[in-house]
């Protein structure tokens, strides 16, 4: 009975399994790698093999006002949305994680609902709402408050995008933290605010950092909502990119895409240092 003497057969990932797996990883990564490679091409249009490598694409991209402005606007909107979702999301997460009350599930799903409603649907709805509100304020109150195509309007819409991530990640941190630390602080006489600041906050810092990074990233790359809310001369980077791509495919746009990729990769590396990324999904 040779079989008994052996250790149980080890079912390691077989060769064909490995091939299939790496094929799949390649499909995901291939377009990103292609973009980064092409961004260094010397050719005016894409050609193979490349005639040479230069950084010209990057200088072109930087000198084109549309991408420059788009980048700045996207950063502004991303920071505003992150700040707003921090201010709204952290208190909400505390209530959700530390309080038991009727309707907690309902509130939780309500706060998660921006993730469920498709971007194109909510984008269209917010756009119509903004235009109607502008008209209403203008006619009835003689107040002119630009919403569609303004930094304020874009930031509010992007806050909706970011809020569910902030709430989800901070709630997860709060639930994972040892509640007795808070109780100990309280029983030693710390006020609730002091407890929060000196005990809770340091413990949930990874969740808050991850929440901020995710908020910024989902805002920075958003297409569907922004599509409805950008205005002439007031366009976010992803929208500038798709507008450009409808007419040109060249190393310049590849350079823009590479820069965006770089910004996000850095943000994610930072957050991965504090927080295991796959836990966010």
């Amino acid at each position: 009975m040779a079989g008994l003497a052996q250790s149980p057969p080890r079912f390691g990932p077989g060769f064909s399994l490995r091939i299939a797996a790496y094929f799949t990883f390649a499909i995901v990564l291939f377009p990103l790698i292609a973009v980064i490679w092409v961004s260094f091409f010397e050719n005016k249009i894409i050609g193979f093999p490349p005639t040479g490598y230069t950084l010209k694409g990057y200088f072109n991209a930087w000198s084109l006002g549309r991408f420059h402005r788009g980048f700045v606007l996207s950063v502004e909107v991303g920071l505003m949305a992150t700040a707003a979702s921090l201010l709204l999301g952290v208190p909400a997460a505390i209530a959700l994680a530390r309080k038991e009350f009727a309707g907690r599930e309902v509130v939780h799903s309500l706060l998660m609902s921006p993730l469920v409603v498709p971007g194109i649907v909510s984008g269209a709805a917010i756009y119509m709402f903004y235009i109607e509100t502008e008209a209403f304020l203008d006619e009835r109150m003689h107040v002119s408050l630009p919403l569609a195509g303004s930094l304020f309007g874009l930031s509010v819409a992007h806050t909706l995008l970011a809020l569910p991530w902030m709430v989800r990640l901070v709630t997860a941190s709060l639930i994972g933290m040892d509640i007795q630390l808070e109780e100990a602080a309280q029983s030693l006489g710390a006020t609730p605010l002091r407890t929060f600041w000196h005990v809770t906050l340091p413990n949930i810092r990874p969740g808050i950092v991850a929440g901020c990074v995710f908020s910024f990233v989902v805002s920075f790359v958003d297409l569907e909502k922004s599509l409805f809310l950008v205005g002439p001369g007031y366009t976010t980077l992803p929208i500038e990119m798709i507008n450009y791509l409808e007419w040109n495919i060249d190393p310049t746009i590849a350079a823009v895409a590479t820069m965006q990729t770089l910004v996000i990769a850095v943000a994610l590396m930072i957050s991965d240092h504090f927080f295991n990324l796959t836990r966010a999904f």
Partner: protein, 303 residues
């Protein structure tokens, strides 16, 4: 064990309990700002748009207040829009199926990988593209698949082709683009479930003499069903609502639902029709996902 005002508390319990001592007393008040923003910024506009979908449209004006089903009737009576809806459904089903087929081996491999650094690297390689935004990823496929893109140029250079083959701006290209965009969602959904399935199940099946495919089909597949289900659902919903991929990779003559909604709202300014299309899209997606979950629950029990 600690004794608190509430009695003996179990130090290992992570149960959420009322945090009576911590006097964020008006605790629920902490929720008010966030809830207010979501209700005013999302739910109210959605209700408003639902109302608009029953309005009438007149060229030159945005809309005329009315209460009519004309916009929905127009959608379902026009073979063009029915075609758009069917194409959207078909693309979503195909890309979800392909994602599942490709995602299963990848997720399984990932979850059984013993080398820590390689596992981390591969997970990052999956998660980072997920957060790259669809504009960048569509740009990647455009660079590769255009008439003068890398694939065509390389094949011509190698002498395989004499003239470029049209790949970009076809349905196939959109399917490829969608699959690439959705794969990370599928892989992550599956991998978390595979991670929870002990390897001893596999070892038991194999040591009892099951060939690998039988082990997979009889043991692993039923166990990973919840992951398959949630991953497919996620991919399907995201594909139904895809915007950037059909617009950029499909080109102006490839029509799917989400780009049509945007076009009606932003270019034609037919708000009532745009609104009704948005709700048709949501309703069809919801109806299909709910009936799929019911059917699967009947077959496999609650998940």
């Amino acid at each position: 064990m600690t004794v608190t005002a509430e009695g003996v508390s179990d130090p290992y319990s992570r149960r959420i309990r009322p945090f009576q001592r911590l006097k964020f007393d008006s605790g629920q008040a902490l929720l008010v700002p966030a809830v207010l923003v979501v209700v005013l910024g999302l739910l109210f506009p959605l209700l408003l748009m639902l109302r608009y979908s029953f309005n009438r449209w007149a060229a030159g004006e945005l809309m005329i207040a009315a209460f009519t089903l004309d916009n929905y009737i127009r959608f379902f009576a026009d073979p063009f829009y029915i075609g758009v809806l069917l194409r959207t459904l078909w693309m979503s089903l195909v890309s979800t199926a392909v994602c599942l087929l490709l995602g299963l081996p990848a997720a399984y491999y990932l979850s059984r990988l013993k080398t820590r650094w390689l596992k981390t690297a591969l997970i990052l390689a999956i998660v980072i593209p997920l957060l790259m935004g669809n504009a960048v990823r569509a740009a990647g496929w455009m660079v590769l698949l255009a008439d003068k893109g890398l694939v065509n140029e390389a094949l011509i250079y190698a002498g395989v082709l004499s003239e470029p083959v049209r790949i970009l701006y076809t349905g196939k290209a959109v399917a490829i683009g969608l699959v690439a965009v959705l794969l990370p969602f599928m892989i992550i959904s599956l991998q978390t479930v595979f991670d929870g399935i002990s390897e001893s199940y596999e070892e038991a099946a194999m040591s009892l003499g099951a060939p690998p495919w039988a082990m997979f089909y009889r043991v692993l597949l039923p166990l990973v069903m919840p992951g398959i289900f949630s991953g497919s659902l996620l991919c399907f919903v995201l594909a139904m609502n895809a915007y950037a991929t059909p617009v950029l990779i499909g080109g102006p003559s490839f029509h799917m639902m989400a780009p049509k909604v945007a076009e009606q709202a932003l270019k034609v300014f037919n708000w009532p029709f745009a609104a009704s299309m948005a709700f048709v899209l949501m309703a069809v997606t919801l109806a299909l996902t709910v009936s799929a979950s019911l059917a699967l629950q009947r077959r496999y029990g609650r998940m």
